[in-house]
Amino acid sequence: MASQTGMIDPAIFEQLQDIIDQDTEIRDELREILKTLEKQGRSTQAILSKAHSTSSDSLCNVVEGAEGALRYQIDTVSELAEAASRHPYYKYNHVWSHQIQDLTYMILLSGFLGGFTSTNSSEARQTGRLLTIEEVGNILGVPVNIKNKDTFHLSLEEYLLALITLIEELARLARNSVTLGDYTRPLQISKFIKDVHAGFQILNLKNDALRRRSDGIKYRVKEVEDVVYDLSLRNLIPKDT
C-alpha cells in the first residue's frame, strides 16, 4: 500500500490510523490514572460505609478517616487534571466523569457528616451541610463549572449527579440512624432532602441522565418522611428540635 494506484490515496488511511492510535493512547493514559483513583475510592467508600453503623458521638472518627482517605484521591485528581487539560475537555470527559461524580459524592457525604469544616477542629463539627460546587472544587483543587476556557474542571452536571447519589445514601442513613437510636438525624436528613428536592424542582430538566436520576429524588423524600412519621407516631422525636 505504498502509493496510490487505485481509488484511495494510502496516505488517507495512514492518517486516520495515526489519529485513532493517538486517541487510544490518550485514553489509555487517562484510564491508568483512573485505575488508581478507583482503588483509592474503594478505601474511602469503605470508611464512609461505617457511618451507617456508627452513632453520632463517634462519627467524627469516621469523618476524619474519610477526610484522610480522600486526600489521596485529591492528589490523584491533580494528576488527572494535569493530563486531561492537555486535551479538549469534552472529548475525553466521559472517560473520567463517572469517577469524578463518585468522588464528589464522597466529599459531599463527608461534608454532610461534618467533614471539611472550615472552623477550628476543636469546635463541634457542623453537620447537615451541603457543600457548594465551589467548595467541592476548592477541596478537589480544580476549577468548577468553567465556561470560557478549555481546561479540566468539575462540571455542573457532575456535581448535581453526585448530589443525587448523596440523597439516595442519606435516605438509607435515615433508617439506620433510627436503628442506632439516633432520632434527631432523620429530621435533619428529611429537611435536607426536601431542600435539595425543592432545588431540583426549579430546574428545567430535559430528557437526559440528570432528568432520569433526579426523578428518583421524590421517592427518597417520601422514604425519609415515612421514617419521620414512624418516629412522631411513637413520640420518639426529641422535644428540643
Binding site: Q4, G6, D9, G199, F200, L205
Partner: protein
C-alpha cells in the same frame, strides 16, 4: 442546625439552584439547536445524494442539472452549520459531538459520494474538514470528527452499490473501467508516482466494483478502539458494507453469466426469478 428557622429553610438552596437553572437552560438551548441543525443537515444531504444517484458516468464533472438541483440543499446545509457554529467553539467544540454526528455523517456521505463521482477517488479527511469549515461561519469552523468521517465513508459504500447496480441495469456494464481515469491520475500525480508508472501501466482498468473492493479492504484494515461508541458503530456498519460489496459482485456475476442471453435493460436483481427474461425496454 438548630438555629435555622423553619420559615427560611424552604428556600435554603434555592438561590444556588436558580443559578444552576440558568446554566442548564443555556446548555439545553445549545443542544437543541445542534440537534435540530443535525436533522436538517441530514435531510438536505439525503436529497443531495438522491440527485447524485441520477448521474450515469464516473470521473466526469457533476452535470449541470444535478448541480442546479442541489444548490438549494447545499445552501440550506451551510445555513444550518452557520447557525450552530458559535455553539460548537472552544470548550464546547466536542461537547455536542453525539448530537451533531448524525448530520455530519450524512453530510460526509454526500460529500464523499459527490467527490467520488466527479474524480473516482476518495476525499481525504483534511479535505472533508476543510469543506465543513467552508460551510460553517467564518473563523468558527464546526469540527468534523474522525468518527464522522469514517462512519460517513461506510455509508457511502451503500450509495456506490446503488450507483453500480443502477448503471449495470440500465447500461449493461459497471461504471468506470475506462483507462482514461488512470491516465488522468498519472498526469496529476506525476511527481510522486514516477517510480510506479511502469507498474501502473499493467494494472487492469478500475471500475466501481474494484473501487468498492479497495475501499472494503482499507476499511477492514482500519483498527478502531474496542468498547467505544465508535468501535460499536464500526462493527455494525462493517456488516452492511460487506453486504453492499457482495450485492454488486452478485449482480456482476449475473451480468457475466447471463449477459449475452438477455437484452440491455434487463435487471437480474430486481425482476422476479420466477419469470423468464423479459425485456424492460427495447434499446
Amino acid at each position: 442546625m438548630t438555629d435555622i428557622s423553619k420559615s427560611s429553610s424552604a428556600s435554603l438552596f434555592l438561590p444556588m439552584f436558580e443559578g444552576f437553572r440558568a446554566e442548564l437552560d443555556e446548555h439545553h438551548d445549545r443542544r437543541e439547536r445542534v440537534i435540530k441543525a443535525s436533522r436538517d443537515i441530514t435531510a438536505a444531504s439525503k436529497k443531495i445524494i438522491f440527485s447524485l444517484q441520477r448521474i450515469k458516468k464516473l470521473n466526469e464533472p457533476i452535470p449541470n442539472f444535478v448541480t442546479k438541483a442541489n444548490a438549494q440543499h447545499w445552501d440550506n446545509i451551510a445555513k444550518q452549520y452557520k447557525t450552530i457554529s458559535p455553539d460548537l467553539q472552544d470548550l464546547n467544540t466536542h461537547r455536542y459531538e453525539r448530537n451533531i454526528t448524525g448530520g455530519n455523517q450524512e453530510l460526509m456521505e454526500s460529500l464523499s459520494f459527490q467527490h467520488y463521482l466527479s474524480t473516482q477517488t476518495l476525499i481525504s479527511y483534511d479535505d472533508a474538514c476543510a469543506k465543513v469549515s467552508e460551510l460553517s461561519e467564518k473563523g468558527k469552523p464546526v469540527q468534523l470528527s474522525i468518527e464522522d468521517y469514517v462512519l460517513g465513508i461506510f455509508d457511502m459504500v451503500g450509495e456506490l452499490m446503488r450507483f453500480a447496480i443502477t448503471a449495470m441495469a440500465t447500461g449493461g456494464e459497471l461504471p468506470g473501467g475506462s483507462s482514461t481515469s488512470t491516465e488522468n491520475r498519472k498526469v496529476a500525480d506525476e511527481d510522486t508516482m514516477e517510480v510506479d508508472s511502469e507498474e501502473k501501466r499493467s494494472l487492469p482498468p478500475r471500475n466501481a466494483l474494484s473501487d468498492m473492493r479497495e475501499l472494503r479492504t482499507y476499511l477492514e484494515y482500519l483498527e478502531v478502539p474496542r468498547g467505544t461508541y465508535f468501535g460499536k458503530d464500526v462493527d455494525k456498519k462493517m456488516e452492511v458494507m460487506r453486504t453492499c460489496v457482495e450485492k454488486v459482485e452478485n449482480a456482476l456475476y449475473g451480468l457475466v453469466v447471463r449477459g449475452s442471453e438477455r437484452p440491455k435493460g434487463w435487471i437480474p436483481e430486481f425482476t422476479g426469478s420466477s419469470r423468464g427474461p423479459e425485456p424492460v425496454e427495447a434499446v
